[in-house]
Symmetry: C3
Subunit: 206 residues, 3 copies
Amino acid sequence: MSLIFALEMLGTAAFAVSGALAASRKNMDIFGFTVLALMPAVGGGTLRDLILDRTPVFWVANPWYVAVALAAALAVFFRRFRPGGRTRLLVWMDALGLALFAALGTEISLEFGAGPLVAVMLGVTTGVAGGMIRDVICNEIPLVLTGDIYATAAFAAGLVFVGADALGIDRNLGLVAAVAAGFGVRAAGIVYKLSLPSFKEPPDTN
Amino acid sequence: MSLIFALEMLGTAAFAVSGALAASRKNMDIFGFTVLALMPAVGGGTLRDLILDRTPVFWVANPWYVAVALAAALAVFFRRFRPGGRTRLLVWMDALGLALFAALGTEISLEFGAGPLVAVMLGVTTGVAGGMIRDVICNEIPLVLTGDIYATAAFAAGLVFVGADALGIDRNLGLVAAVAAGFGVRAAGIVYKLSLPSFKEPPDTN
Amino acid sequence: MSLIFALEMLGTAAFAVSGALAASRKNMDIFGFTVLALMPAVGGGTLRDLILDRTPVFWVANPWYVAVALAAALAVFFRRFRPGGRTRLLVWMDALGLALFAALGTEISLEFGAGPLVAVMLGVTTGVAGGMIRDVICNEIPLVLTGDIYATAAFAAGLVFVGADALGIDRNLGLVAAVAAGFGVRAAGIVYKLSLPSFKEPPDTN
């Protein structure tokens, strides 16, 4: 439990930094930094909790998620943290957060009565919806919709957890397998620069 | 009940195709297709259920809504379904979905304690909010806000249902009348290419 | 209570007019006016109520919020109300609404079990989230994120209420102090045209 929470905080910080960096590209003020950091850090899980009627929402119950996201936003704003040479570390923390949030989101959804299809969907939502909201606020089409192997990794994590659950495999083992699968898919995407094919007009196949 | 559900699935498919076509215009990947299909298909009803604290959210309780929307998204992505010659069929299925979702949304809202004003508003929300989210994600001002006789049709459906309910008319009869009204208004808009006047600057009247 | 409600209606009208004016700039139709008026008027409080699982949502329980917002939208659309010479009155009504909504939002959040950090955050959300949604629908980066002394005023109101609450000060006195603080900060921003520093690239300090 305590290990999972520590990893969650790492992922939360990485997600929040992605928002703060988006705010810096748009020359926002300090409030813009905090809003854009909070969106990816807690947005997806909030949507999941609202849809599942899981109360209180996770960061109302435990304000550490918000505190860590705000700290990350302020660190970027006041240039205490400049990604510069640490970009690679950030990418890997982000990959870990993505896999972990998707796996935990899937688990929570099953626990709250969702069927397997909906649980995987809410697991993916947990991992990627907040980043989508960040991009929409920045007036950009969400990056995750246009080719990156990113949502795919969240999907893999969700699918593995649902599969492990269906096979009666122990919850903790299922989580480890799901996080490994999600992280592995994302890592392959990063290392080999893979991307999903995007739809091309005019239709040229079939 | 079973007839209503069958019609709901038709409407869901038409709404999902509208999202998948938006995704194709933005050259999204397969994940983008599923996200943009789900928004119009289940977004408005989700917002209504969250606001009414109606749990579980309709598609968590019954995953067929999600399954049909995903199937429609995949059919467009893999070019199993090319609207081409079937555009007119799609438009009419969409009109049916709009009227039906607005009428059902109004009914559900009354049932969950909303007054008539709020019930009509949540009926319109059920019909059009998901399409608005689709457009916002595509980085476009929602079409429904700029002149189409579309929200008007949802409004007509909601108004007729609330009126029938106030007159003590049987629920099923009220639903039929509301769907007919919404569909009729939308049909008139399509056939006669009607649009609402939009606001013009600088002020030229009064 | 009745005084607070009257002030809330003033603030709701001012917030709704801000949405209707945004709709007029985008040449929307009458439906666009109502949607964009409702967003700032009730959007932030709706998000707060959903996150706190506070049911029914405030405007479902009391439709006057929606009715006043719709009336403001229609007044602008039909040019019964032209801000013209009354811009300054509007700005001050808006400032009052902002301070009041942030203070009340903070109070409600504490009452529903949020800790002080989250309560201030939800107070700010109550004051500014609806306006952000208005801007996002208009396909613009939310104004509040880019330098205005606006969210800062909401933050001041929330902070003062939480502080007064922690000191055991009477609720009504705390509310008055919080509204005064929020209004004062916003007034200083308006009168002296203050703005928050925004982030500049490339990094030039540290």
